[in-house]
Subunit: 404 residues, 2 copies
C-alpha cells in the first residue's frame, strides 16, 4: 500500500459535524493500510470573513498583509481535523505550510510553488501518523514571509504534495461526485465519467466547469499524478483525471459545457496596420483583464472588425479601455454585449475524427442559433452564441454527441 493524498474543501470542513465526516473518510483510508496525507481548506466562509475585514479597512490593501491574514483560515482548520482523528484513536499531526516544507516564490496572494521539502511529512508517516497539511499557503525562505497560492490553492497544494511524495493517487473530495459529460442541472441524461484525460479536464476547467482549477490539473499532468475527484458526502466511485489512453480516443466528445460568464467587445473599422492588436491587448492586459476568445474579421478596404470576450464582471472596465484606445488608433466605434454565452464540446477523440466541428455548426444552425464567434483547439470547439440559447445548445449537442 502506498501513500494516498486526500484533499477536502471548505464545505467539507465547514462545521465540526462535517469535520467528523471527513475524519471518518480519512480513518477508513488509514484502516485500508495506506499512509495518509491530507490537505484542507479553511472552514467555509472563513476566508471571505477575513478578506472582508481587510477590505473594510482598505479596499486597496497590502498583498503582504493579505497573505499574513488570510492563511490563518487553513492554519486553523487543520488542527481541528487532526484533533478529531486523535480523539478517534488515530494519531495525527497538523502541519502549517512552513512545517511541511512548502516553499513558494515570494509573490503575495498568487504565489507559485517552488519546492516541497517533505522530510517532516516522511518522518511523521514513519511514526504512523496521519499528516493534516494546511492548504493554500507556503513560505518564501528568502524573507520568511507567508505566501498564499490564490483561489483553488488547496487543490494545487494537494497535487504538489502528491508529486513530492510520489503518492499513488491524489483524491480531491468536493461537493459533487465527479466530472459529468454536461452540467446535470441542464442535461438530464448527463453521465458521470469514470475517467478523463488531463487535457480534456484542462479544457473543461477553463471552459467553466468549476470542479478542478486548471493549475492543479496542469501540475498533475506535469508530474504524472492521477487525480481522483470524489464526493465527501456520499460514498461513490468518482472520476479519475489521468493520462490519455486508447479507450479515451474512441470517444469523440467527452463533455459539453457552457459558460455564461462571458461578454463580448467589438471594435469596428480598426485600421489594419501592424501593431494595432498588440496596442489594444497590451492596454487590456495592463488593466488585469483576462481576454478569452479573440476573432478578427478579414480586412475590407484597409479596415477590420476585431471582437473578443472577457469575463462579464470586466465588461465595463474593458469597454472604457477600448473607447480610449479606439480614439488613439482611429477605430470607428466600440460595441459591448453582455448577453452572450460560450458553448463548447471537448474530447481527445476529435483528433482522429473529422467533421466534428461541421456537425456542431449544423446542429446549432438547425436550431436557429447564430454563431457570433468560433474558436477551436485540437480537442475542443467553442462557439459564442446569444445567452438565451445556451441551455438549449448544450442539451442538443449532448444528445447528438454524447448520448448517441
Amino acid at each position: 500500500m502506498g501513500i494516498v493524498v486526500m484533499k477536502f474543501g471548505g464545505t467539507s470542513v465547514g462545521s465540526l459535524e462535517r469535520i467528523r465526516n471527513v475524519a471518518n473518510i480519512i480513518a477508513k483510508k488509514k484502516d485500508e493500510g495506506h499512509d495518509v496525507v491530507v490537505t484542507v481548506s479553511a472552514m467555509a466562509g472563513e476566508t471571505d470573513r477575513l478578506i472582508n475585514l481587510l477590505k473594510e479597512i482598505d479596499e486597496d490593501f497590502s498583498p503582504r498583509e493579505y497573505d499574513q491574514l488570510v492563511h490563518t483560515g487553513e492554519t486553523a482548520s487543520s488542527p481541528l481535523v487532526a484533533q478529531t482523528l486523535i480523539s478517534m484513536g488515530y494519531p495525527a499531526v497538523s502541519l502549517t505550510g512552513y512545517q511541511f516544507g512548502m516553499i513558494t516564490d515570494g509573490s503575495y496572494s498568487k504565489s507559485r510553488i517552488l519546492d516541497i521539502k517533505a522530510d517532516r511529512i516522511f518522518k511523521e508517516l514513519e511514526k504512523g501518523k496521519i499528516c493534516i497539511c494546511a492548504g493554500f499557503q507556503g513560505v518564501d525562505p528568502k524573507t520568511d514571509d507567508i505566501n498564499t497560492l490564490g483561489r483553488g490553492g488547496s487543490d494545487t497544494t494537494a497535487v504538489a504534495i502528491a508529486a513530492a511524495l510520489k503518492a499513488t493517487v491524489c483524491e480531491i473530495y468536493t461537493d459533487v461526485d465527479g466530472i459529468y459529460t454536461a452540467d446535470p442541472r441542464i442535461v438530464k441524461n448527463a453521465k458521470k465519467l469514470d475517467k478523463i484525460s488531463y487535457n480534456e479536464m484542462l479544457e473543461l476547467a477553463s471552459l467553466g466547469a468549476k470542479v478542478l482549477q486548471s493549475r492543479c490539473v496542469e501540475l498533475g499532468m506535469n508530474h504524472d499524478v492521477d487525480i481522483l475527484v470524489l464526493s465527501s458526502l456520499e460514498e461513490k466511485p468518482g472520476t479519475l483525471v489521468t493520462k490519455e489512453d486508447e479507450e479515451m480516443e474512441q470517444v469523440v466528445v467527452t463533455g459539453v459545457v457552457s459558460d455564461k460568464n462571458q461578454a463580448k467587445i467589438t471594435l469596428t473599422e480598426v485600421p489594419d496596420s501592424p501593431g494595432i492588436a498588440s496596442t489594444i491587448f497590451n492596454k487590456i492586459a495592463a488593466e488585469n483583464i483576462n481576454v478569452d476568445v479573440i476573432v478578427q474579421n478579414v480586412s475590407k478596404e484597409g479596415n477590420t472588425d476585431l471582437s473578443f470576450t472577457v469575463q462579464k464582471t470586466d465588461l465595463i472596465r474593458a469597454k472604457d479601455v477600448c473607447s480610449q484606445v479606439a480614439k488613439e488608433i482611429g477605430a470607428k466605434e466600440v460595441l459591448a454585449d453582455g448577453d452572450i454565452a460560450k458553448v463548447s464540446i471537448v474530447g481527445v477523440g476529435m483528433r482522429s475524427h473529422s467533421g466534428v466541428a461541421a456537425k456542431m455548426f449544423t446542429l446549432l444552425a438547425e436550431m436557429g442559433v447564430n454563431l457570433m464567434m468560433i474558436t477551436t483547439s485540437e480537442i475542443k470547439v467553442s462557439c459564442v452564441v446569444e445567452e438565451k440559447y445556451s441551455e438549449l445548445a448544450v442539451r442538443t449537442l449532448h444528445e447528438a454527441f454524447v448520448e448517441e
Copy 2:
C-alpha cells in the same frame, strides 16, 4: 529617541473601530520620533471561540493541536493593525512569532521564552517600519512546532521584546488606566499610583489584581525593563512599574487587595510524621491544582490540622484528592469551605516599619472579622477571612493604611 514597545490587549483590538483607535495611538508615538514595535493579542473573544471549537471535539485535547489552532488568533489580528497603519500612511509590517524570532522551549500551551533573535525587527525598524508582532506565540526550532505562552502571554511577549531590543520602555495598554491602591469599585477613595516597584506589583498580581501577569513583571524585573500601564481608551498618565527607590520606601502600604476566588480545604487530625505533607501536596500537584496559602497547626497528641487554599474552581477536585489521601494516611476528615476570601496589604515600606501586621489584625478584630489563616512575606500580609467580610475589610484597611 529610543525604541518603544507597546502592547494592546484583546479588548483594545476587539473591532475594526477599536483597531483604528489603537493605530492612532501608535501613529502618535511614531510621530514623536520613536522607533515603534507593537505586540497585539487576538481580537476579544477569538481565542475563546477557537478553544470552544476544540473542546467541542474533545475536552481532553492534544496540547500540540491546541497551540497549532489557538495561535492563529494573534496571527490574524496583527495584519489588521498593520494594514490600518499602512492605510494611514505609516509603513508597517505584521510579524508572526516565527518571523520576529521568538524561540520557545517546546512545551505546549504554557511555553517559556528562550530567546528572541530580533534581526528581522531591527531590519524593519531601519527601513522606518512599525513592527506589529503577534503576541502569545513562539516556535521551537528543534521541531518547528508552534508553542503558545499561556494566558497573559502577550504581556510577556511585549516585555521580552523590550528586553531583546533594549527598549526605553514597554507600554502595556489595557482597559484600566493604571494600578490603583485598591479596586475603585470597592474603595471610593482608591488612588492611582504614579509608580510601583516590581516586587509590590508581583505581590499584587498574584494576589488577585488582574492588570499584569506575574510572569511579565518578573521578566521586566530580571531585565530592567520599565513597564508603563496605560489606558487605550483615554489619554492619561498611567502607572510605571519599575525598580524600587527611596521614595517608595516612605510608603508603608502601597495597595490593599482582596481575592474572592479562593477556597479552603482542611484535613483534621493528620498523623504528625515526616513525609505526610509531601504526600498530600504531591498528589494535589499531580492533579495540576495550584495551592496558595498553607497553614499547619501546632501538633497535639501526635496529630495536627492542615489547611490550605486553592482556586474556587479547583475545590471539588482538590477535595476528592484529599479524601483519598486522608484514608491512606489516616487523617480524620476533610472539610471544604468555598465561602472565603483573601485580603492583603502590600508595600515595600513594611520592611522598615514594624507593627504593620499587628495593626492589620487589630483593625480586623475590631470589625469582628475572624482570621482563618495568616501568611506574610517581607512586603505583604494576607489574611483569609469569611467571604462576606471581604469588601468591608478592604475598605477599612485602605482607610487606615493608605488614606491616613
